[in-house]
Subunit: 94 residues, 4 copies
């Protein structure tokens, strides 16, 4: 088998896997839609449920983002420690 055919097979395999995974994701999306449909049928406000899910997902992400921001500021102050301006800034923070 030529090198080209080998690459061909490899590519087929890769794209096959991607398309299979995409298919599974589509199925899951349909499942989620089904749940929302059911929620709506039970009288819940779908828009608010979506918002709740969104907020719960953001929660942990946001927490780590806040911490990394604090890290950013602290490391910047650290870098400034040997400049006059930085010493002044650090003095104000302390």
């Amino acid at each position: 088998m030529s090198r080209s055919n080998f690459a061909s097979e490899e590519l087929k395999s890769l794209i096959g896997r991607i398309e299979r995974l995409n298919g599974e994701m589509d199925a899951l999306k349909a499942d989620v839609s089904e749940v929302y449909k059911q929620a709506k049928g039970t009288g819940f406000d779908v828009k608010i449920i979506r918002e709740v899910v969104r907020l719960r997902k953001m929660d942990s992400a946001e927490r780590s983002e806040r911490e990394s921001l604090i890290d950013l500021y602290l490391s910047a102050l650290g870098d400034l420690a040997d400049t006059p301006l930085g010493q002044h800034a650090i003095a104000k923070v302390k």
Copy 2:
């Protein structure tokens, strides 16, 4: 159990199912990324693979409709002759 508590339990269940499904989707997304990463490592052009996957999602009617329109618009701008595709379109008109 009061009506309100019943609704509470129902809501918790719905949100739980949604979040579980979302989790499964995240796992699949990670799998897809993994495949793309592997494709890149094997020397394939990831951007092109994405485009190919996208094209294969369309049926062939959609695909050629899209190509024809792009040709048409490009030709209106005088860009046609620069592309092999454009020469094809010109050939069809003659």
Copy 3:
């Protein structure tokens, strides 16, 4: 004026300039949206126009390189015969 205040003024000026430039960019974005809206109103296919603008950004070498690769990958998957482009590629090979 202290060194610190000098830095403050400098910083305010820099941020002010950045924000003014960002504001101008937002205005331009709104203008572009307006043009697309108008195009849509005149019956043009906005999605195709976006694609055309994107293609025109590439030089012709890039464009044909991209097309060739897409053809190549599609042909490896056996999709070639379905597209006009593919037939063109086949013709070149013969």
Copy 4:
């Protein structure tokens, strides 16, 4: 001039305007980069300035988002006003 040529001219004009606006945006982007470069040269921490600009931009957006979330909840309660579950929920909020 044929109808087709008219459309052609229209399309040329539209795309010309889009490309001109894109060009102006590119110039502004270069200006912003220039300011950041200057900031860096003056000893400021570019990463933090970017963060500050980002936060200031988010500020007003976030405020209106928060308000719209409140609106969402209130309107949902309004819709519930004529259901037993809703009356219970409203009673708890009051």
